[in-house]
Symmetry: C2
Subunit: 379 residues, 2 copies
């Protein structure tokens, strides 16, 4: 349900609102097989008490190393219960009420909410075509420094950003890291969509460039395997990883599920599955973009992402999002309003569309309905 | 590894130290089947994002109702990531440094540690043959009241207590609840072993007697299914349940595992499995008690439990636990020293023996070795 602006969705609504994974592409047979194998081979390890399974930590560290994170190791990788756990815990251990946190605008508002819960003051840096505007960030850091404010961290999603789908170029990543070092501010890099690359060269995550301990990186199995397994990771400065581990009050991350995920992922199966997913999501992105070209008013701008789950749209001035919502309800289609992606009420003429969850036919029909709603909103 | 008193165990040591479940009695085939069924029937529910599975909450509420907890419902049952999560979270939401918490002595020290972590002052009430000494508790509550101290909660394990295996009679439970109401102190009832009843009539948990909202009850699938699934529950006053839910920062308790556990448990399978477990653990208790009769010095006292995982022993004055530890190392057997069950350094002549994990032959051989170590310690 796409938030309070919407209310209950009418029966038959096609939701393009949420970034759910495509349920037709969960590797069901492989998970069942992995479960049977794990229980067949080490039932005591899987089902009795025990620490976080070392095999999964090793697998995550190796995957990070393969993406250029040379310092990833068993000592600085933490398995978590979904990345939402780290998004909630990091502010708890770092933020006192009134502390400042810098975020992208627009961004994943779930993260912002967890920063606000512990009393953080939110400063927003605009997202342009290349991701977070580094010039604007530099200016903000100087201004804050003049006021005696040192932000606790910069929350950034440089790769296939949520909601805009933008990709921060390597050069900008280097500038961002240099600013973090210069001003002594941690970068909190959320790489939720980093593996969902449809085209273009891979750009290393910022943590791969970090030699001085200024980047805490999080990633998740939610997008590349399944959200339901509740399995994610953090990698960064050992001191922060250790504090996070101490505050992860649920203890280990589940002897059973950690082994099932590792077993599923081993021997190249995860990389092969990611490759299949990217073929699927690339096609669905193309289906959505083609439908947008056909059905949306020509003056609706949008970003074609090279990866991730979303197409982000900028509406003309005479087509405010609230007006589109009203007509979208009538046309039985839903989306995430831009206002749901900003901490400060911006986004009044923006919308996020997810191509991840619906099948091709529903994507086309959803976009057709939304195009009709846009035209009705304008009329 | 049974704690710092021990150091590394020599190769070939038989551990009677920890309350692990018996790995030969995990329902492996049923879990694999449940996994396949869940993924076959509702792959999107199990593997996509979602709230805590309502079916599992319903199952837990029904099981509690069957044990007399008439007010158990979807509104006051919370699924947690092992009961250790609630043992850590409840103090975080209730305790300020210097607040007083009442515990049993001896008790599950893991719980005490999590109370101490947030700065609680620990007051200990002795455990007698009938569990917590209610007269001593009453005296303590009066004394504390005279000092102006109102404890935040009384942590109690009335059924097959850890480590003593004692069972609190119904009458004492009623008195305990009456004291809680009179002094306005929450009872934090840990029912980890409540389903592991080998003989005797079932006594309702204290939460079943609670009509005014003075009992927060926790239970776990760790002992009746498997610790590795990391699944437990809390049931109690809605206001506390809601606060706990808010601070459970990992979000939902895993769409996948909650469904697998519910599916395994459904249609009477869990109750049938518990019945099998109780036959097994009853036999292992008997094996241990028989071996103790044969191999321990006659003046070692012990409690024969009617349920749970442990036999608790009281050593003669000339046989301090530290001396037994030294010789037990040489004889390659380990146990939990009584000092590991008290917050205040007591237990110097007590030991806890777990019959849950080892097979019959190892139990007999472990007790034989321990008997020899006791005799050597005395000589």
């Amino acid at each position: 349900m796409p938030g309070p602006e919407w209310g209950a969705e009418p029966e038959g609504t096609i939701s393009l609102a949420y970034g759910f994974a495509d349920p037709e592409h969960f590797p069901v047979a492989e998970i069942v097989e992995a479960t049977a194998e794990v229980l067949g081979e080490d039932v005591n390890g899987a089902l009795n008490y025990g620490p976080t399974y070392a095999g999964l930590i090793r697998l995550v560290a190796q995957r990070l190393q393969a993406r250029g994170v040379a310092h990833a190791s068993a000592q600085n990788v933490l398995i978590s219960y979904g990345s939402s756990q780290i998004l909630a815990l990091l502010p708890q251990i770092m933020i006192d009420p009134g502390d400042t946190v810098i975020v992208e605008a627009p961004c994943f508002i779930g993260a912002v909410r967890s920063f606000q819960e512990v009393g953080a003051t939110i400063e927003s840096v605009p997202v342009r075509e290349n991701g977070m505007d580094i010039d604007a960030l530099a200016t903000m850091l100087v201004t804050l420094q003049q006021k005696g404010v040192r932000p606790k961290f910069i929350y950034v999603t440089p790769t296939y950003q949520n909601p805009t789908g933008t990709l921060m170029p390597l050069e900008n990543r280097k500038r961002l890291l240099a600013l973090a070092e210069q001003f002594g501010v941690l970068i909190f890099e959320d790489d939720a969509y980093g593996d969902l690359r449809f085209e273009g060269e891979a750009i290393p995550p910022i943590v791969a460039l970090d030699t001085k301990g200024w980047v805490l990186h999080i990633g998740t199995f939610s997008k590349i395997l399944a959200p339901g397994v509740r399995m994610a990771w953090a990698c960064g400065p050992e001191a922060i990883i250790q504090r996070l581990a101490k505050f992860k009050v649920e203890g280990s991350s589940g002897p059973f599920m950690t082994r099932v995920v590792e077993r599923f992922a081993a021997d190249g199966r995860l990389e092969s599955h990611i490759s299949d997913l990217n073929a699927t999501y690339r096609r669905k992105r193309d289906v959505m973009v083609e439908a947008i070209k056909e059905h949306f008013p020509a003056d609706v701008r949008y970003i074609v992402p090279q990866g991730g789950f979303f197409v982000y749209c900028y509406l003309p001035t005479d087509m405010p999002t609230v007006a589109v919502i009203k007509h979208a309800r009538d046309h039985k289609v839903s989306f995430l309003p831009g206002m749901g992606c900003y901490a400060n009420g911006q986004g009044t003429h923006e919308i996020r569309l997810a191509f991840s969850y619906q099948n091709d036919a529903n994507i086309i029909e959803g976009i057709r309905r939304l195009g009709a709603a846009m035209k009705a909103a304008r009329a």
